[in-house]
């Protein structure tokens, strides 16, 4: 056997790199500094579901100063693409998955999101061909391997997943595949920030912008928002130290009365972003008004396939227009998402709506504000029995 070239272990490099951003002592020092800086109560929204995941997973919110006079409250924003995908899109995906001869491909965590009556797991159990893929290009490969079947990819996500989804459509077009299409429900961060600031009774005073979205799109979209709404926006990463540093910078700005865009995630984000990715997105997608589960329609807050790629649009290929869905009138997740309602102030909380029977976005995801609250409330209640 030929000698293998020496190279450092890939896996130990990954973990060493991550360990630098998870150091407990530095985390506690940063949290203490935030406690020293904050002289008033502040409400900061982390936009991205990945950030919420990290906050809950590491217990970051518990390190922050708490109290009505000078606490820092984190409001978990609408940035989990799984949770904000509208009921209607889920129902359409379910309808496609039920069609004989069709393969529906999706990212894993979409499978358990309930539509009006069931989820993709149930359709799979009843004979539908539903497959989990890690990349939309895997779905394109499936289409090439099964020319006799329709292969549909459920393309959801923020700007982060858009370049790969756009590439998949381009590749399918280059290969002349006629049996591949996408059910697109892409959503965008900047319009959501504007919608939150516009809402009556808004409590959000600063944003942690989603680091991975900005690694694709850059930071150039955010200064107009910061100016218009006089709100600090700090581009923030996902590890504990990234998040604490993002929060620290937001509090420093709030205390000083500034409202600027700051990049606290420079190892991944530049002002211009990934321009090649932006080009592919601009070629394949076009802006569209998009409904967000629990919030409603936000103008120009999503992408659909551009007209040049209409042949790959599952909405056009299959007759789905008749499928509409009405969200539960009991669900008040929109108010929870904006930080205007605490989860347990919702009359449906813990009754009609639980993690196993979720009504809205914030209970669907295990990191949604309502689901997290449900788990912790159980913990707190049983501690006092």
């Amino acid at each position: 056997m030929a000698t293998r070239p020496e190279r450092p272990h890939y896996e130990s490099r990954i973990m060493k790199h991550l360990a630098e951003y998870r150091d407990a002592d530095t985390a506690r020092r940063l949290a203490a500094e935030i406690g020293r800086i904050a002289t008033r109560p502040w409400a900061i929204m982390e936009v991205c579901g990945g950030q919420t995941h990290s906050i809950i997973r590491n217990g970051i919110d518990q390190l922050l100063p708490r109290g009505s006079d000078r606490g820092v409250e984190l409001i978990h924003g609408p940035g989990c693409p799984v949770c904000v995908t509208p009921l209607e899109t889920i129902d359409r995906a379910l309808a496609i998955a039920r069609r004989p001869g069709t393969i529906l491909c999706s990212f894993g965590d979409m499978l358990r999101v309930p539509g009006s009556r069931e989820d993709l797991f149930a359709v799979k159990a009843a004979g539908g061909d539903v497959r989990v893929v890690y990349s939309p290009l895997d779905a394109v490969k499936l289409a090439r391997r099964h020319p006799e079947r329709e292969v549909v990819f459920l393309a959801i996500g923020f700007e982060t997943t858009a370049p790969a989804n756009a590439m998949a459509v381009k590749v399918a077009a280059e290969q002349g595949l006629r049996n591949f299409s996408m059910l697109v429900s892409h959503v965008l961060v900047p319009p959501a920030i504007a919608a939150i600031m516009q809402a009556a009774g808004n409590r959000v005073q600063a944003f942690l912008a989603a680091g991975h979205v900005c690694s694709v799109m850059g930071t150039w979209q955010y200064p107009p928002l910061a100016r218009e709404w006089r709100v600090p926006i700090v581009v923030t990463g996902f590890e504990p130290l990234d998040l604490l540093e993002g929060i620290r910078r937001a509090v420093v700005q709030l205390e000083a009365g500034r409202h600027e865009v700051e990049n606290a995630y420079p190892r991944a984000v530049t002002e211009r972003g990934n321009e090649a990715a932006q080009q592919v997105i601009a070629e394949v997608f076009t802006p569209v008004d998009r409904a967000w589960r629990g919030i409603g329609v936000i103008p120009a807050s999503g992408w659909r396939l551009a007209d040049a790629y209409a042949a790959y649009d599952a909405e056009q290929r299959f007759d789905l227009g008749g499928i509409t869905a009405v969200e539960s009138p009991l669900c008040r997740s929109g108010e929870v998402l904006r930080g205007m309602l605490k989860p347990d102030q919702c009359p449906a909380f813990g009754r009609e709506c639980t993690p196993r029977t979720p009504l809205g976005a914030t209970m669907v995801s295990s990191e949604g504000a309502c689901a997290a609250y449900y788990n912790f409330r159980q913990a707190r209640d049983s501690a006092h029995v």
């Binding site: 896996e11 940035g79 894993g108 159990a125 997943t161 539960s328 009504l359 049983s382």
Partner: protein
């Protein structure tokens, strides 16, 4: 539970009209099947204890046959019985095969009762078209695993299903072992102050399988930890005959097992994130795939709940055994937050580790 269906509510997930994959994942959906269908039909004093295996002792026996068995054994010990079925793709993976799992899984279920495994039965369900050479390889590995574990396969069965009706090969094994009379495992209930031990790194088996399926390549490939644990258990029982409880955290991982323990014993469990042993390659693969190692299956690890006074002695005994070299204290049993597992995070926060619902799904973000 108050989460009944309401008119405006989507179909409650637990009311699936058909079996979904999650029903087999060892989480809350699996529990639904057990509590909703199997226990009501089969209920008896052994099954209702819901251990990894049943120990047929003569206390409180109502069944004549079992009473006879217990009487026959007399002072020689108590009979332990268990069964498990094995479905895994690929059939051969780094560190093992379905044949190794079929031996180790049932041996370990018996070992968790403190039993010395003696005999196994093996049932094979073969799919039309399976290569005879592949079957022979797996059976050879199974025979070797049985020899190494010191168990004899004393009865078997073979069925063939039509092409497309099986995943190449399924195996069921059942096992019988004897719990030596001096073993007092489980005599005393789990109580606050007890210590939670784990015998080594977690997540190795599940990630070995997933890395193959997803085509992930690492410089040092992740190998399954599949291994028999009864030797380790007997070493531990020699150090502390009064171990409160043993579990092998297979499907659903450490998270599911700890939640089961918390629920059955009606205690709280607190674990320390810093203490959770995970190999760097497994941790890296979990980062890439968006998985939590606490929810990933193990096939050669055990969790032990031991009295605090004996924890150091048991840990030392484990570390002296090849299957427990990386054993650590993971956390403790607490009186607070009954029936919940809470993790103290590395940076000083806490989070609840819930019972997984069904299969763990890769996260999109």
């Amino acid at each position: 539970m108050s989460d009944g269906p309401a008119s405006a509510c989507p179909l409650p997930l637990r009311d699936y009209a058909h079996v979904v994959l999650g029903h087999g994942a060892g989480g809350a959906l699996s529990r639904d099947l057990i509590e909703g269908i199997f226990l009501p039909a089969f209920s008896n004093e052994w099954l209702d204890q819901r251990g990894d295996s049943a120990v047929l002792d003569s206390t409180g026996l109502s069944s004549g046959t079992a009473l006879d068995i217990a009487r026959h054994l007399g002072n020689a010990g108590r009979l332990a019985v268990s069964t498990d079925s094995y479905v895994v793709r690929p059939l051969v993976f780094p560190g093992g095969s379905i044949g190794d799992l079929a031996v180790h899984g049932t041996v370990n279920d018996l070992a968790m009762s403190g039993a010395r495994p003696l005999v196994l039965t093996a049932g094979f369900i073969l799919e039309e078209g399976l290569a005879i050479a592949a079957l022979a390889t797996i059976v050879e590995r199974m025979a070797r695993a049985a020899r190494e574990a010191g168990v004899v396969i004393v009865a078997g069965d073979t069925k063939v299903v039509e092409r497309g009706h099986g995943d190449g090969l399924y195996i069921n094994t059942a096992g019988i072992g004897v719990v030596p009379p001096e073993v007092r495992l489980g005599n005393e209930p789990v109580r606050p102050g007890d210590v939670v031990l784990v015998s080594g790194t977690i997540g190795d088996h599940g990630l070995a399988i997933m890395s193959v399926r997803e085509g992930l390549e690492f410089d040092a490939p992740i190998a399954s930890d599949t291994a028999p644990l009864h030797g380790l258990v007997s070493t531990m029982l020699a150090a502390c005959p009064g171990i409160r409880l043993l579990r092998d955290p297979t499907r659903g991982g450490v998270a599911a097992s700890l939640n089961e323990i918390a629920a059955l014993a009606s205690v709280g469990i607190e674990i320390d994130e810093d203490a959770v042993p995970v190999r760097p390659a497994v941790a890296a693969a979990c980062e890439i795939l968006g998985l939590d190692p606490l929810l990933v299956a193990n096939e050669g690890k055990l969790l032990a709940i031991v009295p605090a006074a004996a924890a150091d002695a048991v840990l030392a005994a484990m570390r002296a055994h090849p299957r427990g070299r990386d054993a650590v204290a993971l956390g403790r049993i607490v009186a607070a937050h009954t029936q919940l597992v809470v993790m103290r995070t590395a940076i000083g926060g806490t989070r609840v580790i819930p019972l997984p619902l069904g299969e763990q799904l890769p996260r999109i973000c």
